[in-house]
């Protein structure tokens, strides 16, 4: 595995993604998702909302890193809040 040059932050990142996917699978088995329409212009399932949340989180991070001098933790916090809002009301 050394050729993949793992670092702690990236390992945590991918573990978090894997945990999310596993969690979503368990959640889906326990109570299957119902497609519904929230504030997003399209009707979405839970998985769709997670995807939108993660993708916008990526762009939030890029924006903060590239064009502001704010801390990346602020971007992470904003992304998490946005993800929760999206999962609940999106």
């Amino acid at each position: 595995m050394s050729w993949m040059v793992w670092t702690m932050p990236t390992a945590i990142f991918f573990s978090a993604i894997a945990a999310m996917l596993a969690g979503m699978t368990v959640w889906e088995i326990v109570s299957p998702t119902i497609e519904r329409k929230g504030f997003l212009p399209i009707s979405t399932t839970r998985g769709d909302r997670l995807f939108v949340g993660l993708l916008s989180a990526a762009f939030i991070h890029l924006g903060v890193i590239g064009y502001t001098s704010l801390s990346i933790w602020l971007a992470l916090a904003a992304s998490l809040v946005w993800l929760l809002v999206l999962m609940r009301w999106g």
Binding site: S2, W3, M4, V5, W6, T7, P9, T10, F13, F14, I42, F51, L55, A58, F59, L62, I65, G66, Y67, I72
Partner: protein
């Protein structure tokens, strides 16, 4: 209706999943790892955090390449989509002429990308190329290795030549699927040609057009071989598009960290656009189904 869900069928996907994890997921993870480090050798790497991303996002050359890429993609869409519809409308509808025209139209699609580049490279040469020589004989100062505008126009012309047939064929198949009854009704109403196009053909073409726009956008956003062979990104960097900047950085200069960060940004942009297009297509079909069911 009660659907039976049998999740054991997922096991059949397992071989594919293993294959993809080695061909795509593990390499992607490695790219992510590289993007936060300065890897000098097998056991010498330094953690750089978000530095590469910051550099890449603020790199004026990459920003210029990104703008050129967007300008290019939208220019060829603005030309190819209307042109493709137009060609599909005048194509013969039956008989041997239809087959002959279809074959003629498809020919450019069969040529590999770098060969298309070579063809146009020779075609536009001032000494032996028909177009290059011909234009110069007519007194046009045409030189794609010196004049950025000429290079741009040639690349756009080349892409239009290579890919408009795809749009035309998609539209042609869309047009063929319109039942005759619509045209009969239009004749009874004495609808003009424009009205037939606007209220029958165009609405029926929407679905294939979305597919055409999606395919053409993705293709053109990742264009590499054709401009690389034709102009090599020049003159200067006037026709250097994103994938070529990436190759220069990753293969030419071996700047693995920055190019990893840049590929991730590139990947995210493509992912975003694909998702928007995919969602649009799926929702259009959903709307249609709900109308059909009502």
């Amino acid at each position: 209706m009660n659907k039976v869900y049998n999740n054991r069928a997922w096991l059949l996907v397992l071989p594919m999943l293993i294959l993809v994890s080695f061909s795509a997921i593990v390499p992607l993870m490695t790219v992510v790892n590289y993007s936060v480090q300065d890897v000098l050798g097998p056991n010498a790497s330094f953690f750089t955090g978000t530095e590469w991303f910051k550099t890449m996002l603020n790199d004026p050359e990459l920003q210029a390449a990104f703008l050129r890429q967007i300008l290019f993609s939208f220019t060829i869409l603005a030309i190819q989509i209307p042109l493709g519809i137009g060609i599909a409308l005048i194509m013969p509808k039956s008989g041997w002429q239809a087959s002959a025209v279809l074959i003629l139209i498809t020919l450019p699609l069969l040529i590999p990308w770098n060969v298309v580049g070579s063809i146009w490279q020779i075609f536009t040469r001032g000494d032996i190329g028909l177009m290059g020589w011909g234009l110069r004989q007519m007194g046009v100062d045409y030189n794609i290795t010196r004049d950025g505008t000429d290079a741009w126009l040639t690349i756009i012309l080349m892409d239009v030549w290579h890919w408009t047939p795809l749009v035309a064929m998609l539209c042609y198949s869309g047009l063929r699927s319109i039942p005759d009854a619509y045209y009969q009704a239009a004749r009874i109403d004495r609808a003009s040609k424009w009205a037939v196009f606007r209220y029958i053909q165009l609405p029926k073409l929407t679905n294939v057009l979305v597919i055409a726009v999606l395919l053409r956008f993705m293709h053109s956003f990742m264009i590499y071989a054709e401009p690389f062979v034709l102009t090599g990104g020049g003159p200067g960097s006037s026709t250097t598009f994103l994938s070529q900047s990436l190759t220069t950085m990753a293969v030419g200069q071996q700047d693995l960290g920055p190019s990893a960060a840049f590929s991730l940004i590139y990947f995210l942009v493509i992912l975003l656009v694909s998702w928007v297009f995919y969602t649009t297509i799926m929702n259009m079909q959903k709307d249609k189904n709900s109308q059909g069911g009502a």
